[in-house]
């Protein structure tokens, strides 16, 4: 660029946060004589409305084509000053944020002189980068007002209804031939005693009433192409027929598998040792009395945390370290249901910590009032189960009673099994969404973006993200609905233009970049009869892993070009005159 730049530099006091430790006037003066710096000012609070207005007036009056704000972290105010630039008709990508607070004043409180020296360099580096900035435009993508919901359990069905009620079309893809997942199999569920089966019937009925929902059962997702707002999906039905769909967003609601104990785990395999889902089915089907193999049940032992909170130090391969959240409440609730069937049954609960959190505390209390006895065992001494002369015996050290060993003879042992991630490797590969250490799908951030994944436009709902109760699953699925609706109802998405750019002159198409890109954002194209790499804008995240892999140095990230970065390093490495 031959023309001289016209840059405005604003160095912020931050009300003392910066100016107490950095001599901001010295910083201002150190850059004011740069011939491309038209304005160099100190401001008390750069972010205040008044100062923003002042910047806008300066930019317009002096026809500035570059803006440097030396204040706090860009995470705080990058958007603020981008907006300032925009309001002053300056391209927001010609502004540079210099972090003079977190990276300078706050970290060097003991040495004002050196902090000021560093401050000057940081601001000069910011100016250097700004000199090389070019106007960039956001990448705008038109969105398709349709959502794909994967999984027709309670979370998937509820999400579909909510989307449809917002006027968005929905395709539900369910692997099984019947909808409803685990919930369909269950009768009374805690805490409201509503039948899971009835709930699913109701939701399915509602789904059928909505014209803009299409339900595919016995169907799997086999391909996902395109990008956020505009995915091309291929699904395969039982008969092998494939269907292509265009959707703007995808909600993954694939649920969980119930933990399957291994042979011999707390006597699993012995007659009379059952898992919680199996037991719930027995209780749901009981009619006036609870029987097992034709015998009336008089004593039941529950062993909690089966398949959850497993020790890393034991013999279990890939132990489940996590807590499955719902099982304590489900078990005590089931115990109350048992007491309703036959109030004479003695129920022994062998637990570690009773995690009936929040209002579920009342479920625990209710069970305690109905012939349930709670025996706590320590992580270090797990209960043992054995069969002796056809009878089941549980041995446990009762931690509530000084660790005394007790022996209980029972008719039935219920293993309170937890939730495990669905085995879904194919789907995970197609969607390219990450799983966490616990095997469940991972959100970007549990608080900032709890239903979003690193793949824009793909959301996770319900237990696919981690163990939840029914109500929590539905809550999370509705949250996913709101995020996907926010994406689709606007009609477009604007993506930051910080994406890779291929210099087609240099590129020789060796394919290294395609291999390195985790997002599949590189494709081979023909450019003037030559094969070169091209970047798919909507997929590129600007991660930059392709750049060092390119043997020809043919790729750069827009807005963070090598030249810009080098110019900053040059300034920072130079002695302050």
């Amino acid at each position: 660029m031959s023309d001289k730049r016209r840059i405005g530099v604003y160095t912020c006091h931050c009300g003392g946060n910066i100016s107490d430790y950095v001599d901001v006037e010295q910083v201002r003066d150190a850059v004011k004589d740069d011939e491309e710096v038209i304005i160099s000012k100190n401001v008390m609070f750069a972010c205040s409305d008044a100062t923003q207005q002042e910047m806008i007036e300066d930019i317009e009056r002096e026809k500035l084509d570059g803006l440097v704000v030396a204040s706090c972290s860009p995470t705080l105010h990058l958007q603020t000053f981008k907006a300032v630039a925009q309001r002053a008709n300056l391209n927001p990508y010609q502004y540079t944020q210099v972090n003079l607070r977190e990276q300078c004043s706050w970290t060097h409180r003991s040495n004002i002189e050196k902090a000021t020296e560093k401050g000057v360099k940081l601001v000069k580096a910011g100016i250097a980068r700004t000199r090389l900035t070019e106007p960039l435009t956001n990448i705008r993508i038109e969105t398709k007002p349709k959502t794909l919901v994967i999984g027709a359990g309670v979370a998937g069905l509820r999400a579909a209804l909510a989307l449809a009620d917002l006027g968005l079309a929905v395709f539900i893809v369910e692997k099984e031939s019947e909808v409803g997942g685990w919930t369909r199999k269950w009768g009374k569920m805690f805490p409201n005693n509503r039948s899971g089966n009835d709930t699913i019937k109701y939701l399915l009925d509602q789904v059928k009433q909505r014209e803009n929902i299409t339900l595919f059962t016995d169907t799997e997702l086999i391909e996902k192409g395109g990008n956020v707002g505009d995915f091309s999906i291929k699904i395969r039905m039982k008969e092998g027929e494939t269907v292509s769909l265009d959707v703007g967003a995808i909600i993954v609601a694939t649920g969980f598998d119930s933990y399957e104990p291994f042979d011999g785990e707390y006597g699993y395999g012995l007659s009379g040792v059952v898992t919680l889902p199996q037991f719930k089915e027995m209780v749901d089907k009981s009619n006036g009395s609870l029987n097992f193999n034709g015998h009336l049940i008089k004593n039941i032992a529950y062993i909690y945390c089966v398949g959850s909170r497993q020790s890393e130090d034991g013999d279990i391969e890939n132990p489940n370290l996590y807590c499955s959240r719902y099982c304590c409440s489900a078990a005590v609730h089931t115990a109350s249901c048992v007491a309703e069937v036959d109030s004479d049954i003695n129920q022994y609960h062998l637990y570690r910590d009773m995690r009936t959190y929040g209002k579920y505390e009342t479920l625990f209390k209710n069970a305690g009032e109905k012939k349930s006895l709670f025996i706590r065992f320590d992580d270090e001494s797990l209960p043992e189960v054995e069969e002796s002369n056809g009878a089941l015996i549980v041995r446990v050290n009762d931690a509530l009673d000084g660790g005394e060993e007790i022996e209980i003879g029972v008719d039935l042992i219920v293993l309170v099994t937890g939730m495990t991630p669905r085995e879904n490797d194919n789907l995970t590969n197609v969607l390219k969404i990450p799983v966490g250490l616990d095997g469940f799908y991972n959100e970007i951030h549990p608080k900032l973006r709890p239903v979003e994944t690193v793949v824009d436009g793909v959301f996770i709902a319900g237990v696919s993200q981690g163990p939840k109760t029914l109500a929590e699953s539905v809550t999370s699925s509705l949250s996913a609905v709101s995020k996907s609706a926010a994406l689709l109802m606007k009609g477009y998405v604007d993506l930051e233009p910080f994406i890779a750019e291929v210099n087609t002159d240099k590129c020789t198409w060796c394919g290294e970049c395609e291999k390195s890109c985790p997002y599949g954002a590189v494709e081979k194209v023909i450019c003037d009869t030559k094969e070169v790499a091209a970047i798919i804008p909507a997929l590129c995240k600007g991660g930059g892993v392709c750049i060092p892999d390119c043997p020809e140095n043919a790729i750069e990230i827009k807005g963070y070009t090598d030249q810009q970065i080098k110019s900053m390093i040059d300034v920072l490495a130079k002695e302050v005159a």
């Binding site: 009300g15 008390m44 609070f45 972010c47 205040s48 409305d49 008044a50 995470t75 705080l76 105010h77 958007q79 603020t80 309670v154 909510a162 009620d165 917002l166 006027g167 409201n192 959850s308 370290l321 996590y322 807590c323 959240r325 910590d353 009773m354 995690r355 959190y357 929040g358 209002k359 505390e361 009342t362 706590r376 931690a399 509530l400 000084g402 660790g403 966490g436 250490l437 616990d438 469940f440 951030h445 549990p446 608080k447 709890p450 239903v451 981690g466 163990p467 029914l470 929590e472 539905v474 809550t475 999370s476 509705l478 949250s479 709101s482 995020k483 609706a485 994406l487 109802m489 606007k490």
Partner: protein, 904 residues
């Protein structure tokens, strides 16, 4: 104004709902009662289980919320009521409280905070440190705007007839800003020297401290401030104002009312001339109040405050005609003639030589025309302050015997009790239940007073028992001088033919504007109110000045309030909100013994030392929070502080409502056996969170009692949860985890500290929580299963925790710790239940949380169609669950709005 959705509560849930709906293209209005959005989360240190900094997560959300084009936020605002319209939409009335700061102008620079003279418990640091009455809630506040915390007007300032901001100058003296204190006083009243000596100080009666050890010595603090200023400035620092108006004002009388009016009008640049009948200016200040109470050089210096403005005072000029003043070219007249006459008793011998009226005696005595009464017997008739002054003066002039004759008992005497006592101490005889019947002379000179004994009969109109003469009780006393001080009379005689006069001889005026029946003629002071106090007269002068100015500017005098004050701060609120108030006794005023002080006419009362004045000012409880010292107004570079800002009532409509009013923390005081509030080293977890946060109130993590770095810390889980004794049987969901988090953070901040967590069950149920719990155990946090029964104080501020060792099986145990953290639970914020009109009742569940009527498949929906609950409004929730819940509320509200719009 119309919105798609109204969101009540700007915590993390409210912000999440607002942002999500905004992103959907719906218009959201977010109402927050605090001055910043962000709720409780932004105040936290780090958050479990990822240990992200809470501010770092909250602030971008806060910034996005305020900058979102579809989201409008209103802070410091509360819902008055919400009602549903016939068309399904909601109408809400919002009260936008006044923060006294113009948010458009405020830059959040914090200058006001630095200038503010009042320190209050910092709510955002849970009372561990102070913030100023002018403050920015916390460093990351959004909007980052200052707020002035004014909770009514402090009683001392509120009761002052002259509107002097007593609290303001007391707080300035407390801060060592004596000159500013003086100048603040001068904003309202120009005679601070006289007031500091002779004001009856109604402020002190109103002082909240007077309900404790005794009021703040406001008048004596003023005395210190005035003496400090006057000793450095023998002349005012200002001169005639620049913008001189061509209007001319005549003021009749140079007493406090006339001087006050002249001062306030003089500052506006009017030409003012005061006409004074006597030889010198000052009125009662000069002629009535004895020098031992009010030295005359102080009066002179006070008067300079007025004359420096270019106000002329013409003495020895008795004005008897308003018309003559008009003829002289005055545009308006203010009559401040005072009450210089004394009512006659109409007794035989009243005109004898040796019988004087009170004002006659006082003015002669105060100007040295009478100076020696050696060997004489003086009788003063009357029971008011105007009787005490002549008695005490007579003693100073050497009178052998001074008798105060009063017809009722001491209890009924209108004089201040301390004045009566001082007179008695100095040697005056108080003769009660006596009244003179006639004065007996010899050669035209008084020699005896015949006196009648009285007894008290039935109460009269004033509620005092009427004195009734006892027949046959006449006897006489030998006297040389009798001073009749039975009451003063307005000096309005000359104007009876010109102006309307009341039956009690006062001018008839409009009590608000002080205008007489002749437009352009105003009257005020004792001539209007009857005999009153100096400060009342000063107030009258100020009032007159206000309306005279309007009159001269051609502005209407109707429907304009001259003195709009905030309502008085509630003493009982103050006493209950200030926490523990340490005992601070008054400084006893040291006076010379009576035998000495009668020998001189020097000022009796000594000025406080600087140290005493600041100590005394420090006793102030800052009742109204803001002291109205006005330093913030002066300090603000953006001119953003406006004390006259009014609250606004705003009506809006919205199709849907999201209630995200959050939770309340359990009040640890209620668990009395844990000693919170009693033992300084028992803190709540919220306080602990502040102590370990990046924006912590102290530089390090310290324990409160002595600032020691704690090295043996206990956490008491389930404080206020799972506990039927305090009526909260349910679990609060977050306490186990935040305690573990704090334990991990403390291990980082204080690597040598031992940490014990007393628990019932560790409820680490969320994603990554169990792993986090395990990590804490591996770091060496000691977990003890057992509920804590009580906490007792042992040596050095340490605490003994009594618990049952369940896992160890060793029964009841106790363990010493140097800091105990109560892991307080969450309770419903029941404010949510009162947002709606009775017609649409927001139902609560069994625990008083907002009820989700079908939480299994319709979470967030409430009993009112179109109203959704987000976050901890409907149950205790951790942050991830609150955010998910808020997202669900957004989806539900959007769906409702979509259907509603489609149906219209």
């Amino acid at each position: 104004m119309n919105y798609d959705v109204l969101i009540v509560g700007g915590g993390i849930a409210g912000m999440e709902s607002a942002l999500t709906l905004g992103d959907m293209g719906l218009k959201a209005l977010l109402i927050e009662k605090e001055p910043s959005i962000g709720g409780k989360m932004v105040l936290l240190s780090k958050v479990f289980p990822t240990l992200d900094c809470a501010s770092c997560i909250s602030t971008p959300k806060m910034a996005s919320t305020i900058h979102h084009p579809n989201v409008t936020i209103m802070t410091s605002s509360e819902i008055r009521k919400i009602a549903k319209n016939g068309d399904g939409a909601f109408k809400a009335l919002i009260n936008r409280k006044s923060t006294y700061v113009d948010n458009n102008a405020c830059t959040g620079c914090g200058e006001c905070e630095a200038a503010c003279t009042v320190a209050l418990p910092d709510r955002f640091n849970f009372g561990m440190v102070a913030h100023r009455a002018a403050y920015i809630p916390f460093p990351q506040a959004v909007p980052k705007k200052a707020v002035i915390n004014r909770q009514g007007q402090s009683p001392c300032s509120n009761v002052c007839p002259a509107g002097v901001k007593a609290h303001g100058y007391v707080s300035l003296v407390r801060s060592g800003r004596y000159d500013e204190a003086f100048h603040l006083h001068m904003e309202d009243a120009p005679l601070p020297g006289s007031l500091s000596r002779a004001c009856y100080a109604p402020c002190e009666n109103a002082c909240t401290r007077s309900d404790l050890e005794g009021s703040v010595d406001i008048r004596r603090i003023k005395r210190f401030m005035v003496d400090h200023y006057y000793s450095a400035h023998s002349e005012p620092e200002y001169g005639t104002p620049e913008k001189l108006s061509d209007k001319r004002i005549a003021i009749v009388g140079s007493g406090p009312a006339g001087l006050s009016a002249a001062y306030h009008l003089g500052r506006k640049g009017y030409h003012i001339k005061i006409f004074e009948r006597e030889e010198q200016a000052g009125g009662m200040l000069r002629y009535a109040i004895p020098a031992y109470r009010l030295p005359k050089d102080i009066v002179d210096r006070d008067i300079k405050n007025i004359t420096a403005l270019g106000v002329e005072i013409e003495t020895n000029t008795n004005i008897t005609s308003v018309a003559s003043l008009k003829e002289q070219g005055f545009d308006t007249v203010f009559l401040a003639v005072g009450t210089y006459e004394t009512w006659k008793m109409n007794l035989p011998g009243e005109d004898l030589d040796g019988v004087m009226d009170c004002m006659g005696f006082l003015s002669k005595a105060n100007t040295g025309k009478i100076s020696d009464l050696s060997g004489k017997t003086v009788v003063v008739v009357g029971g008011g302050n105007s009787a005490i002054d002549p008695a005490r003066l007579a003693l100073r002039m050497g009178a052998e015997k001074v008798i105060i004759l009063y017809r009722r008992t001491r209890k009924e005497m209108p004089a201040h009790e301390w004045e009566i006592q001082a007179a008695i101490d100095e040697g005056a005889d108080l003769m009660i239940l006596k009244t003179p019947r006639r004065f007996i002379g010899s050669n035209g000179r008084l020699v005896k007073v015949e006196v009648l004994r009285m007894e008290l009969g039935e109460p009269d109109d004033s509620g005092r028992r009427r004195p009734v003469p006892v027949k046959g009780s006449e006897h006489s006393i030998d006297v040389d001088l009798a001073v009749l001080a039975i009451g003063l009379r307005p000096s309005t005689d000359s104007f009876t033919d010109q102006l309307k006069i009341n039956r009690n001889e006062t001018f008839r005026v409009n009590p608000e504007t002080l205008e007489t029946n002749i437009p352009s003629v105003f009257a005020g002071g004792d001539g209007v109110t009857g005999p009153a106090m100096i400060v009342d007269a000063i107030g009258q002068g100020k009032r007159a000045a206000f309306y005279i100015n309007r009159y001269l500017q051609g502005e209407s005098l109707d429907n304009i309030e001259f003195d709009s004050r905030l309502s008085i701060a509630d003493k009982y609120d103050v006493l209950s909100n200030r926490g523990a108030i340490s005992k601070r006794m008054q400084i006893v005023a040291v006076e010379p013994p009576p035998s000495q002080r009668v020998k001189t006419s020097e000022e009796v009362e000594k000025c406080m030392t600087e140290e005493e004045a600041r100590y005394s000012a420090n006793r102030c409880l800052d009742c109204g929070n803001c002291s109205e010292c006005g330093e913030c107004i002066k300090a603000c570079p953006a001119d953003a502080v406006h004390f006259d800002m009014q609250p606004e009532e705003i009506e809006i409509e919205a199709d849907s409502v999201i209630v995200s009013t959050g939770f309340k923390l359990f009040d640890a005081h209620l668990k009395t056996n844990y000693g919170y509030g009693k033992y300084p080293n028992v803190v709540t977890a919220m306080q602990m969170d502040r102590l370990v946060s990046p924006t912590k109130p102290f530089n390090r993590t310290l324990r409160p009692s002595d600032g020691k770095a704690p090295d043996n810390i206990a956490f008491v889980l389930c404080t206020g949860s799972r506990d039927c004794t305090i009526d909260n049987p349910i679990c609060s969901r977050v306490c186990c985890m935040y305690s573990i988090k704090q334990a991990e953070l403390i291990m980082g901040a204080l690597p040598l500290a031992d940490i014990t967590i007393y628990y019932i069950d560790i409820r680490a149920f969320g994603k990554g929580y169990e792993e986090f719990y395990k990590q804490a155990k591996e770091m060496g946090v000691y977990f003890v299963k057992g509920r804590v029964a009580k906490i007792e104080l042992v040596e050095d501020g340490n605490l003994s925790v009594f618990y049952e060792d369940i896992d160890g099986g060793s029964g009841p145990q106790q363990m010493e710790h140097d800091l105990v953290v109560l892991s307080v639970g969450l309770l419903p914020n029941m404010d949510a239940l009162h947002l709606f009109n009775n017609g649409d009742r927001l139902e609560a569940d069994a625990y008083s949380y907002v009820k989700e009527i079908n939480e299994d498949i319709d979470p967030t929906r409430t009993s009112i169609d179109g109203v959704f609950a987000a976050g901890t409004t409907s149950a205790a929730r951790d942050i991830p669950d609150s955010i998910l819940h808020a997202g669900a509320a957004a989806a539900q509200a959007a769906g409702y709005i979509h259907q509603l719009k489609a149906s219209r």
